[in-house]
């Protein structure tokens, strides 16, 4: 049916690729992936790609740098082997989350962290005091955090990618880092379909965004389903003793949970983080919507906060379930009733731990259809709203 098209699988997610190629009624391209004994990646492409339309599918999971290099080497090998067009298919885009601040204390200070409660975004002041590897406060220089977005985009382009297919980019701006065309697919139709068919009485649920950044994503679903929307707002407040007594935000509001979850190591009265819910969730089932769950601090904390507001069941709908660190354990112990993810990264191991709590939706059809449409030069935008 489809001619002159070759689909190669990287070693990151063979399960998804075999589904995609069977949806396209194709055979997987023959490629041998491995490593030399010195640890360098070795690939050898087993079939001709001359004047073919080549798709290389590699998600961002496991050892990300190994998988990313493997992808780059495959792209460049296909390009030098005279492929007509080389498309990189990245269901989860690597390094898509720009670390504007060190986003998890665990992440940066592995092994050296203090016993402060887990905080998703430690405030910079505290960072400066605690982080003994970067004692730069003397000179007053704020540490320069590498922004890898453009770099990753340029590396892919330089390796020979002519086109990128990805899904639910964390930052929509990421598309602008590329000089080549990027098709950002959405899992929204699939998630929406799940809500409509699998969540009982969904009309009376509340869609919750666990942070301000995801508000747009969540409101889009809420608007489509005509259900109410709530937002969990995190903010850093600077403690000012003068105004503390008459600041109703700090003390009187029952929605404020600053003391338990927010305040971190800096008890010196300089600053602390607060979280609050904007919107009414009492007695209602909540559906938390986000694009990715990594360390799971955000969603487990959101769940805790929602439970404190006497909400009903808590569902979590996520596109990319990375679950790094102790994420699975934390979710197991949290008030979350059901967590729904897609198979943009392998979920078999997560399924073993979480069992029935985890539901995995299949995105291979939407990716397969996108490949088919791009190959045939048809419009892809119908997939944005209707899924496949």
């Amino acid at each position: 049916m489809v001619h002159d098209i070759v689909v190669f699988s990287g070693s990151s997610h063979p399960g998804l690729v075999s589904k995609i190629v069977s949806n396209l009624s194709l055979e997987e391209g023959r490629v041998k992936l491995g490593k030399f004994s010195n640890g360098e990646t070795s690939i050898s492409i087993g079939e001709s790609v001359r004047e073919k339309d080549v798709y290389v599918i590699q998600s961002s999971c496991g050892n990300i740098n190994d998988n990313f290099m493997e992808l780059l080497i495959m792209l460049s090998a296909c390009k030098t082997a005279s492929a007509k067009r080389v498309t990189a298919v990245l269901p989860l885009f690597p390094y898509s989350r720009q670390p504007d601040l060190p986003y998890s204390k665990k992440g940066i200070n592995r092994g050296k962290q203090s016993d402060t409660p887990a905080v998703e975004k430690p405030n910079p002041l505290e960072e400066e005091n605690n982080n003994n590897t970067l004692t730069t406060s003397k000179t007053g220089y704020k540490t320069w955090i590498a922004q890898s977005g453009t770099l990753i985009a340029e590396l892919l382009t330089k390796s020979g990618a002519d086109h990128i297919i990805t899904m639910d980019l964390h930052d929509a701006q990421f598309q602008g880092f590329f000089d080549i065309s990027v098709d950002n697919l959405y899992s929204k139709p699939i998630l929406q379909h799940y809500i409509q068919t699998k969540i009982p009485d969904y009309q009376n649920c509340v869609i919750v965004s666990p942070d301000a950044g995801g508000a747009k994503r969540a409101t889009a679903i809420a608007d489509n389903l005509l259900v109410p929307f709530a937002l969990i707002h995190k903010e850093k407040r600077f403690f000012n003793p003068k105004h503390a007594s008459n600041s109703n935000l700090d003390l009187s509001s029952p929605q404020n949970s600053a003391s338990s979850s927010g305040s971190s190591g800096s008890q010196d009265g300089k600053s602390y983080a607060t979280t609050m819910i904007v919107g009414d969730v009492e007695g209602k089932d909540c559906i938390i919507v986000d694009d990715l769950v990594d360390t799971s601090y955000t969603i487990t904390r959101a769940a805790k906060l929602l439970k404190r507001q006497n909400c009903g069941k808590i569902y979590v709908l996520i596109t990319h379930g990375i679950f790094s660190g102790d994420a699975l354990e934390r979710i197991q112990q949290s008030a979350i009733d059901k967590i729904v993810v897609t198979n943009s990264v392998p979920q078999e191991k997560h399924q073993e731990v979480l069992g029935d709590k985890l539901v995995v939706l299949d995105v291979s059809r939407i990716l397969g259809e996108a490949i088919r449409r791009i190959h045939n030069g048809e419009s892809v935008s119908i997939l944005f709203d209707h899924g496949w």
Binding site: G39, T41, I73, A81, T133, T135, S148, L155
Partner: protein, 319 residues
């Protein structure tokens, strides 16, 4: 036109901190404060802890480490990119052992020329200059459009030989045809003979049959190669030489990668001595192993590059 003073800044990646430390001591310049870590989701994360605006940056990162090669490479790319976006004046990557250097040609259909890809990636990240050592194929320099200084370990090696080995009865041997040129030049400098082992290779990292060209009877053979990886070649070559009547076999390599079963192979081998440089950290235990420190050469190259002096002196003189 007056320039703002710009000075050397040394940044060490996680691949070989000891070497970076030695270079830093030699130049009497402290290593800059950086933080390069992997997050719990395995993404590399780089922060730079001091201002490097308008400075002359040298990032020391070598290609090594089973399971870590790609991590170190990404770390290097991100460090380069971080320095670029932090407005460094010039960024030089000091890569003593260039990763993927052996993937340098399309030797079969659709084989990736990964060395070229790496060159492209390093330039894309924003690198302005590369310092490396004993490239597997010096043509890799041509993969770059930025200047590449390919330094040689040879002067340091010669110095070592002169002081540690009785050269009167020695002969240099190249373990394969590809290294013949390198060995012949070394032999010429010491005015010694050289022999060649011709091998018929069937698969990568596997050695089949070896034929010796030249006479090594009753001689001390000095096997020279640019790198020792699985050590299959070295061990077999040593056997071939001893079978042909050599007295003793000593081996000198620049990059001691020693992957796979190298340790076992070496321990069972008939080499009386193995000498490598510290371009990569040595990960094996082998009592006949000796190391030559090449950090002075790298440090001097950095100093000369910064001051705009000629580097070619280092091609012939040990420090």
């Amino acid at each position: 036109m007056s320039h703002t003073p710009n000075s050397i800044r040394l940044i060490s990646g996680n691949s070989h901190p000891e070497l970076a430390q030695k270079i830093s001591q030699r130049l009497n310049i402290p290593l800059s404060i950086i933080n390069a870590k992997q997050n719990s989701n395995n993404e590399t994360f780089v922060t730079i802890g001091e201002s490097i605006r308008d400075e002359d940056i040298y990032i020391i990162q070598t290609g090594c480490g089973k399971d870590k090669v790609n991590d170190f490479l990404m770390e290097l790319l991100m460090l380069i990119n971080a320095c670029k976006s932090a407005s460094a004046r010039r960024i030089t990557a000091v890569i003593p052992n260039f990763p993927y250097a052996r993937q340098d040609k399309k030797d079969k259909s659709r084989a990736p020329i990964t060395a070229k890809l790496i060159a492209n990636l390093i330039q894309t990240a924003g690198c302005n200059h590369v310092i490396t050592m004993d490239l597997h194929a010096s043509q890799i320099q041509g993969f770059f459009t930025i200047p590449v200084d390919n330094l040689y370990a040879e002067p340091s090696v010669l110095e070592y030989l002169k002081h540690n080995i009785d050269l009167k009865n020695a002969i240099f041997v190249s373990p394969d045809a590809g290294g013949a040129k390198r060995v012949a030049s070394t032999a010429d400098k010491l005015d010694l003979n050289f022999a060649l082992i011709h091998k018929e290779r069937q698969k990568a990292n596997e050695v089949s049959r070896m034929v010796l060209v030249g006479d090594v009877t009753d001689k001390i053979c000095i096997l020279i190669d640019d790198m020792a990886d699985t050590c299959g070649t070295l061990v077999k070559a040593a056997e071939t030489l001893l079978d042909n009547g050599a007295n003793e076999v000593i081996s000198i390599v620049t990059h001691g990668i020693f992957s796979g079963a190298a340790q076992q192979k070496l321990q069972g081998s008939k080499l009386s001595k193995l000498i490598c440089t510290n371009t990569v950290p040595v990960g094996i235990e082998f009592d006949k192993l000796e190391q030559i420190d090449i950090s002075p050469t790298l440090a001097e190259a950095i100093r000369r590059l910064h001051n705009g002096e000629s580097i070619s002196y280092l091609f012939t003189h040990a420090l």
